[in-house]
Assembly symmetry: C2
Homo-oligomer: 187 residues x 2
């Protein structure tokens, strides 16, 4: 089956930097777009990614893939969740740590839902990384909440890992790897 | 001009309790609906209310009025803003006070945007109440962030005011009064 070239929809350069090596590994090329994804309100990233992919296909009329990602902190009832980007911009990682002050239960998870739409179907692929919220931010790599999150099996925050270390293990990688395995098999 | 009876769209019983006396004062009757309003993501309540009213009319095919309200805290870059309901559910007023711990600048504002749509036009009406975030919650009346917000000209929180005191001055009243003045004149 001949398919149009895939469009990867993101305005986040950090995401692109993480995704390029992964897509190369699967030998899947993509284009980017200046069209911004629609973000609906929902409490789970899968619903957000599904709606975004569907809408993006309607606009672009090209196979499109994107993700929605959130950090879900157990002691904060899942906050900041699907509103992670807005909350990062307003109260930042400082705000998260302030909210966690004197809270012993530090467990959290990063969840990425990849949404794909090509006019025939919409598919979502989820990747989860459990971990813990640190007491103080650490590291300069990555982006977003990376300096305050230690992924399971690590003692360092995401922001203390090198790009390739993070790409090897991350929630985003898990989700996009599922997508890429399906995508390359279904060609 | 003969108009269909107005539908007031809210699932919030507290809002209804506050709005009934106001609508009665203007001699405007309304029905309610079990249809839930669409909430798009935007950083201002006017955009959210506009989209919600437009969509609600498309579903109900009846004149519809609704509001979107947010608390915007200056020291938190407008947080919780249009995500006030979600943030109340997750981190609560306790979270707001924790974020404001040791922060001297306590200014904030409540903003309500009323959205109205009747198939001919969509209109929005904005009401603002400036005020301050308290150091500790006080009062049992009202709902939402009322226990942590002291409106301008008051020494008590919204939650320490009686229903009629709050209805006399509130951000929501300001917005709905503008709407009701326009609505009754345009009949």
């Amino acid at each position: 089956m001949l398919r149009d070239k895939l469009v990867l929809m993101t305005q986040n350069q950090h995401k692109l930097t993480e995704l390029r090596p992964l897509f190369e590994r699967f030998d899947v090329s993509f284009e980017t777009t200046s069209v911004e994804k629609l973000e609906i309100r929902a409490n789970d990233v899968e619903t957000v990614a599904h709606a975004a992919a569907l809408t993006a296909y309607d606009v672009l009329k090209r196979p499109v893939v994107l993700d929605d990602t959130g950090l879900f902190v157990d002691a904060l009832n899942g906050f900041p969740g699907t509103y992670s980007a807005y909350i990062l911009k307003t109260i930042g990682t400082t705000g998260i740590l302030r909210l966690m002050n004197n809270i012993d239960k530090r467990t959290a998870k990063f969840v990425t839902a990849v949404g794909y739409a090509d006019g025939d179907a919409v598919r979502t692929f989820v990747g989860v990384m459990p971990g813990n919220i640190v007491q103080a931010p650490a590291g300069e790599e990555g982006f977003g909440y990376d300096p305050v999150f230690v992924p399971q099996g690590e003692t360092r925050t995401y922001a203390q890992l090198s790009l390739s270390e993070k790409v090897n293990i991350s929630h985003r990688t898990k989700a996009f790897r599922k997508f890429l395995e399906w995508y390359t098999k279904s060609l």
